[in-house]
């Protein structure tokens, strides 16, 4: 076993505290050596820096960083980290634009560093079973329903309503990270309707119609205004039965053939993510799948915009 990877967490918001910190502290492959946060949030027993530049100047030895800031500032931090010779994990979405993510991949490859554009939802318990079940089956149609209460899941995350925050596509991109992973054919946007609150620069709801290359319709319904029961479901109709992946990939059911068996003991999504990152760091290689972000960009590019009521948190 190699020495642990000395990692700094950058951006100590909700996702870093809820997910990255527990995954890292229970992973022998990583040694969490510092945290960076412009607002001064820090897990008390770790060296703390306000900016990544301060971290670099401190002389602390760092092998890698995980960037959990809002997407709008991720690129500059990642570019700086790569210039220090540090490997980089990017929370999802990997950036506020596609071109900046592609440019980071080029930088990482040129410098022989690992870069992971992470899609945690792909590591939900039943996603690989769904992928295996769908492989080789003829897709007839699909339906993605991702309806959640923004006030519950994204409290005070003002960046989500700013340009580059993506609004309801911030959770919606999780659905697309699963769909692009499990569906056998590429899909693309055929029609997109975006609902923008009058006081926001990002949509609060969206209806997007995709087609796969063979013409199957995949309809996506995203809504941030869902109270009561929440939905994170993907249903795929095939010529050989229906697959239902629900609760964001935690549950699976099928008609026709049963789903394939899975391992009894599965790591959590973020533990699996860090296993993947450790593998990339050991090999100095990149895993940057831009497909989910590209579909979101396409939904904006050809979106028809409707104004709806202001959003007041």
């Amino acid at each position: 076993m190699s020495d642990p990877i000395r990692l700094a967490l950058v951006g100590m918001g909700k996702i870093a505290n809820d997910q990255h910190y527990p995954a890292l502290t229970s992973d022998a492959d990583f040694d969490l050596v510092a945290c960076v946060d412009r607002d001064g949030s820090c897990l008390a027993h770790l060296p703390y820096f306000v900016t990544i530049q301060e971290l670099a100047e401190s002389g602390l030895t760092v092998d890698a960083v995980a960037i959990c800031t809002p997407p709008q500032v991720r690129h500059d931090i990642a570019q700086f980290a790569l210039e220090q010779g540090w490997h980089v994990l990017l929370e999802k979405p990997p950036g506020a634009t596609l071109a900046e993510v592609v440019a980071l991949r080029e930088t990482a490859q040129d410098r022989g560093l690992a870069l992971l554009a992470s899609w945690h939802s792909r590591f939900a318990p039943c996603v690989d079973q769904a992928r295996e079940w769908l492989a080789g089956r003829e897709i007839k149609s699909g339906r993605i329903v991702w309806r959640e209460d923004v006030r519950v899941w994204h409290p005070r995350q003002h960046w989500i309503w700013e340009p580059g925050g993506f609004g309801v596509f911030d959770p919606g991109i999780n659905a697309l990270s699963i769909a692009t992973h499990i569906l056998p054919d590429p899909m693309f946007v055929e029609q997109s309707e975006l609902f923008f609150p009058g006081n926001c620069s990002a949509p609060i709801a969206a209806q997007v119609r995709f087609r796969d290359r063979k013409g199957a319709l995949i309809a996506m319904d995203l809504d941030f205004r869902q109270e009561g029961k929440q939905s994170w479901d993907i249903v795929i109709e095939t010529a050989g039965g229906t697959l239902t992946l629900s609760n964001g990939g935690a549950d699976i059911s099928t008609t026709g053939a049963p789903p394939p068996p899975r391992d009894d003991v599965l790591p959590g999504e973020y533990s699996a993510l860090y296993r993947r990152f450790a593998e990339l760091v050991r090999n100095s290689s990149c895993d940057v799948d831009v497909r989910p972000l590209r579909l979101v960009a396409d939904a904006f590019l050809c979106g028809r915009i409707t104004r709806v009521d202001d959003f007041i948190e």
Copy 2:
């Protein structure tokens, strides 16, 4: 010399008549064998079809098609053409979304067919000189000004105001096709302001701020409401002088070192495009540079939208 490539023109609108037809009929590499247009426009002496399906059913031998329809319908026509075993040239922009263009490239590669995502502005007379002059120079900043009168240049092109028509980015993508070709480093969107008429689903003006990987600012000013003098200019400040590429790449001037010499006799933009396409067809290879379209998608993805006066043609 090989046999001429038997080509059908699909979508007989302004660009097909103004540019493709004259370029093709003076090119010995191509034999224009049919035209396809849903509205029945056709150059009289050619076999004519309303749809590409009719063309396929006619039994006429076709090697390649050039697709000049509005972008919203390009993908399905191109996919059908590739399924017939025909090589494909796509007018710019190559589609209404990025993912559909990437999917077409995969289809073409899988089938061993040529696919050209054409960017005619890159073949403007002084573009290669500009690229050569900028190579290796340190870029300080840039300014792209593309201001034209939509009523003059896009009469009755209602598709331009629909989702996937891109509005002012339809000409603006020409500027980006040049900028991505001549600038030594990749650039990406830092800030984007889009001005949508109340009655349109696409912007009539845009202010986009790009940065290149080394931090240089490239400011882009697009406006469809320009009366009087029209502007299609790119100015790049470098550590070794200023380059001005004006009139859409037709004129060049520099301070410091003069621009490199160029050939006395240059083909027109579309003649050069068809030379490139002939080369790809002979080699069954693809040239699909998505960078200009990706930057437009990014400008929409992180755009801040302002409503402006309705557009009445």
